[in-house]
């Protein structure tokens, strides 16, 4: 590796490491256990875990077919549809939350009918948190899986068909296993994005302890009332995410099949 590139890389690593060191440096270690076992922290943590995993599951269920549609089906306006589905990656999350509110709120475009016909209300509920998280997280899974589908040798699926497999059997037994590393990577990215989601959640679902106050919201709130608690909660989130990312990296990303490529 050339020396200038190495130096720049080290600066980049430091850039990511320093804020973490800052948090650890300012952490109130003597009171840490008290803050961690406080109700606010545990409730928020549990809510964050449940909602982010639900959002990841929804992202997989809807995102994989969407990626397949974008990668394999040639239809007019495909570029526009792709841009539309990836828009929430670049949209400020707060704007996304407001937009969700206009669409799915009780007086919203679709939300009024959800409310009138089915009695379903999404804003300011735990389900609303999941919707907001899915909205911002799914694109990460979609682009990763779409890239993998585009790289997949189409003859594998052809071979499966000529061996007597239906399209559905082929998708389950050939396509899905072949893109599994990318699917895992995409799911982890989506989960990480859902776990850290703040803006869309607070505008669409509000900030109610126990129902919509996830970890990022709890951290933000306590920054104003009790900065020490905020730091401890933030470190807990970081520890969980870090453990998952490190653990999955060795088990999935490198070892299985071709290296995972994430589309730019």
């Amino acid at each position: 590796m050339p020396v200038p590139a190495l130096a720049l890389a080290i600066v980049a690593v430091a850039f990511f490491a320093l804020p973490l060191v800052g948090l650890i440096w300012r952490a109130p270690w003597s009171n840490a256990w008290t803050y961690l076992t406080a109700d606010t922290a545990l409730v928020a943590l549990r809510l964050s875990m449940v909602t982010s995993l639900c959002a990841t599951a929804l992202s997989i269920v809807f995102g994989v077919p969407l990626a397949w549609l974008l990668a394999r089906v040639d239809f007019p306006g495909r570029g526009a549809v792709r841009a539309l589905c990836l828009l929430s990656m670049v949209l400020p999350p707060v704007v996304g939350g407001v937009a969700l509110f206009f669409a799915l709120g009780r007086r919203g475009l679709v939300g009024q009918y959800l409310d009138q016909w089915f009695g379903i209300t999404l804003p300011f509920t735990t389900a609303g948190v999941v919707v907001a998280q899915t909205f911002v997280a799914m694109p990460f899974l979609v682009i990763t899986v779409e890239a993998a589908l585009r790289q997949l040798d189409p003859r594998l699926e052809d071979a499966s068909r000529t061996l007597g497999a239906s399209r559905w059997y082929t998708f389950r037994r050939v396509t899905l296993p072949a893109i599994r590393p990318a699917l895992t990577a995409g799911a982890v990215l989506a989960w990480a994005r859902a776990l850290g989601e703040f803006g869309a959640t607070i505008t669409f679902a509000g900030n109610f302890p126990g129902t919509t106050q996830t970890m990022p919201l709890a951290v933000y709130l306590s920054l104003e009332t009790n900065p020490e608690e905020a730091i401890v909660l933030a470190l807990l989130m970081i520890a969980i995410s870090f453990t998952v990312l490190v653990g999955l990296r060795d088990r999935w990303f490198g070892a299985v099949g071709r290296p995972v490529q994430v589309a730019a």
Binding site: D158, A159, R161, T162, L163, G164, A165, S166
Partner: protein, 351 residues
């Protein structure tokens, strides 16, 4: 078991208009240059590419007929496909690859594995059953692909350039192997290739495709004697001489001797390009060419400025000379001639 195909398909710059009939138990080689549409023909027959017009029927039953809207999905056709580079499933073991077609058609897991195991045994692959395809050699991977395609018991087997992925060193052995295994399958076989040596080894009949059209069909010997186009003459219409090599000389079953420059022993196939064959009137008078055979002219085929002269004698051979040379030598049917070829102009591959 017969295949009748009339294929009309426009795909990008390719305009495919092909008529093809396969008879029961026949092995046909589909030869042609790159981009001629050979692979596309296979894809149409397998149902991977629907045709625009025409009709494809297997044993009289239409599998693709745009006029009536009949279309049988690939998974419901009695067709096996061996892909170029084999397209094995890397996330499955070898035995799972072979069992795949049986499982996909609803055979129970245990029975599918058992029958796949029998296929592996037949193809000498038993010890590789639990391995991933990625760890196999080219020849082994080809056998897995063949076993996988044959396991669901197709009536028509399609092979797309089955030897193209192999290096020269293993090609001959795999070709021999493939011929043996193809011989055990009694359905129709269609092999796409661009190598006349492969066609000679594997097929009863060749169909030559150029720019989406069938330009010639017949046995390889017929095509060699009377090629109808430049491509057929240059790449398909070569003299293939089979025999046994010992001490630098290939001896044919009829006793003709061909001196070669390559060092190898045992059964081999020599390729003599017609334009490498020099002709002279009467008896040979001596030259640096190591090979000289005598015979009589049995056919003269003019193709513009080039003429193909078919000689029968010590060795049946086609020579290609210019029309001017033919006139100078005043060669006519029945004339006695000698044909000479330099040993270094002869390509030899083990068989």
């Amino acid at each position: 078991m017969t295949l009748d195909a009339r294929i009309g398909l426009r795909l990008g710059s390719l305009d495919l208009q092909v008529e093809l009939t396969l008879h029961p138990g026949e092995v046909v080689a589909l030869l042609g240059p790159n981009g001629a549409g050979k692979s596309t023909v296979l894809r149409c027959l397998a149902g991977l590419a629907p045709i625009d017009d025409g009709r494809i029927s297997i044993d009289g039953a239409a599998v693709d007929d745009p006029a009536t809207g009949a279309f049988v999905e690939p998974e419901d056709r009695p067709v096996g496909f061996v892909f170029q580079d084999y397209a094995l499933f890397e996330h499955m073991s070898v035995i799972e690859n072979v069992a795949f077609g049986l499982r996909a058609r609803g055979t129970a897991k245990g029975e599918a594995r058992e029958r796949a195991g029998e296929w592996l045994e037949r193809f000498g692959l038993t010890e590789y059953g639990t391995q991933r395809p990625g760890s196999l050699s080219g020849g082994q991977a080809q056998r897995v692909a063949l076993a996988r395609a044959l396991a669901p018991n197709p009536r028509l087997l399609l092979l797309d350039e089955p030897l193209a992925a192999l290096d020269v060193g293993t090609r001959a052995a795999v070709r021999r192997d493939l011929r043996q295994h193809l011989a055990t399958f009694d359905g129709m076989r269609l092999v796409v290739t661009h190598d006349p040596v492969d066609a000679h080894a594997l097929a009863d009949r060749v169909v030559v495709l150029e720019a989406g059209r069938v330009v010639q069909t017949g046995t390889l010997a017929e095509v060699t004697a009377r090629p109808r186009t430049r491509y057929v003459a240059d790449l398909v219409g070569v003299n293939l001489v089979a025999g046994d090599v010992a001490e630098g000389v290939l001896t044919t079953p009829t006793g003709a001797r061909v001196v070669i420059a390559d060092a190898l022993d045992g059964p081999a196939l020599a390729t003599i390009r017609p334009h490498s064959v020099l002709l002279g009137r009467g008896e040979a008078t001596g030259s640096s060419a190591r090979n000289t055979w005598h015979g009589a002219i049995v056919d003269i085929d003019r193709m513009g400025e080039r003429v193909r002269v078919v000689i029968d004698g010590d060795l049946a051979l086609t020579a290609e000379i210019t029309a001017a040379a033919l006139d100078d030598l005043q060669l006519r049917l029945g004339d006695r001639v000698h044909a000479s070829v330099k040993a270094t102009d002869i390509e030899v591959v083990p068989e």
